[in-house]
Amino acid sequence: MSSAILTVWRKELRDAVRDRRSVLAAMSYAFFGPVLMAVAFFFLVSQMTDDSDVKIDMQGTEHAPALVNFLAAAGIQQRDEPWPNGRQPIALEFPADWDAAIAAGEPARVVFNADFSNQQQRAEISRVTQALQNYSQQITQVRLLARGLHPQLMQPIDVVRQDSATKGSRAALLLGSVLVFILLSVFWSGMNVAIDISAGERERNSLEFLLSQPLSSTELVAGKTLTAASFAMFGAFLSLVIIPFVFAYVPLERIGISVDLAWQTLALMAVMLVPLALFATALQLFVSFRAKSFKEAQTYISFLLMVPMLASFGIEFARIKHQALYYLPLTGQHQAFLDMIKGEPLNVVAALASAVITLLCSGLLMLGIARMLRSEKVVFGL
């Protein structure tokens, strides 16, 4: 590497590190992103696995003490406090002739009142339903036994549920969004620096002098791309380091998901993000070198940011599968990451090919910027 590239890189890094806005931009994404995601997952998990007592309204408990005891054992209790706003009451009513009906072997009526379409109360409703069914089954078995019949008669088929979703692939569903987040970190974290060293350079009137120095515009662009890419990688690295820590606090295993991001996996991801960081920053520099001011560049770049976001979210949620995705910039890294967290073997050839293609694209973009900076029309905005 030429010493001019190193000189530019060193100077720009020093300049950028002293820019609180750039550093904060790079770090905030890495810090707050995983934390936000963890909080969201945490609520998701605790909603799905709420095993605290369900408190419902019960009337006529004195008529069916055995059932009430059974429900209590299943964690369903009489409610004393009022229902919170937005929650429909769930109520059970046992009639006075309960005992008589049971004794006579007739269906004993219990009235189950609730808003069965309410998503938020689904878990509670299904627990009450389950408990009632279990009690009913228990009585059936006792009655059959009393009449000398084997309770198995009531179970003509035996359904064995086999969930083909492995723990890893179910995790992939959830971790898909984490992956998109990691991929986008290289686009986010270096953005402010990229704008500052291109459009910012023009805005503070230092571009002309810099271009009059004895270094080729290719060297200048390379140095600047490396600077912004360093920041992009810094943000990505922080995200990769923080994510496992944050997710250690989310009890994902309780909903049958194992997040096992070994440090080797994370290290490999970091390496694979390097070409993408170069690509992202080259793209941003290409756009923001055309802008006259920091603000103008910010506008362009936020539009530009939509492209990788739409691309990665689109592929993630539309579940698009195509061989070409393995080789393109961004999607190549995305597919490789997906395979890695699903525990599938990494397609090494495709990963290498996408790295090379990403680097080539970055190189072409850099040459394009260098060419642009040799054009007086672009430099002086004539």
Partner: protein
């Protein structure tokens, strides 16, 4: 020595440079004098290869900036039309950056930076970030950046604009000192007093052409005026002036 030969450049219908020819010899201060919009900045940018002429050439010693911009820029120091500073860097760091771009490394770089900082009397500025610098202090940093590698040629675009008396004096003293060392100095200005006070040779430019050329005294003699300002008005203001 900087020589400009038959430079022509148009922006659309506007002819910024029209067959412009002049020389700036070593060890002399050559002033490019002209009204705003005469093509001075375009001419200077063409010399260091930032703009391309439609025809003609500009040579620094024997190097054409159009053909070999990097070699040409090695030979010159530039004080540009606009000099923005890196506000988060200290004066010393900025100067060191440009010294490195000119190929100075390690001890040689540090020595050059220290020398230029002392020479411009900005030792107390050296370790301050340039964010709060006054116009004069900014000018000093820009000057230091231009001469840290001790170029044989120095090109300055309107160097004294916005400067107070003290800063202007420092600038003039420096330019005279560099001239004594044999540096070829070319600067543009539209300020008469400055040109009269400083220049060995004046090239009057109007509408992209050389309207007159000579020492300040010669220009006055040419036009029969006693003050350069009157001579200047006569030269660019009337056709007779140019003919004379």
């Amino acid at each position: 020595m900087i020589s400009v030969q038959n430079l022509t450049k148009s922006f659309g219908d506007i002819r910024a440079l029209d067959n412009l020819t002049f020389h700036a010899p070593d060890g002399q201060i050559t002033g490019l004098l002209g009204p705003n919009g005469a093509g001075k900045t375009t001419c200077l940018r063409t010399i260091y290869g930032l703009q391309k002429a439609d025809s003609g050439q500009a040579l620094i010693d024997t190097v054409d900036a159009l053909l070999d911009p990097l070699a040409a820029r090695q030979l010159i120091g530039i004080f540009p039309d606009k000099f923005g500073l890196y506000e988060r860097l200290t004066a010393q760091e900025q100067i060191a950056f440009f010294a490195e771009l000119h190929g100075l490394q390690g001890a040689a770089r540090n020595q050059a930076v220290t020398a230029v900082i002392e020479r411009l009397g900005m030792t107390e500025l050296a370790h301050r970030r340039s964010a709060g610098f006054s116009q004069g202090q900014r000018m000093k940093v820009a000057l230091a950046q231009a001469i840290v590698h001790q170029p044989k040629h120095l090109i300055l675009d309107e160097p004294s604009r916005g400067l107070d008396v003290m800063s202007t004096r420092i600038l003039r003293d420096l330019l005279r000192e560099l001239r004594a060392q044999g540096t070829c100095i070319l600067f543009s200005s539209h300020v008469m007093q400055e040109v009269a006070a400083l220049c060995d040779r004046v090239v009057v430019v109007a509408k992209g052409k050389v309207a007159a050329e000579g020492s300040p005294d010669e220009l006055c003699a040419m036009t029969g005026e006693s003050a350069l300002e009157e001579a200047f008005v006569k030269i660019i203001g009337t056709d007779e002036g140019i003919a004379a």
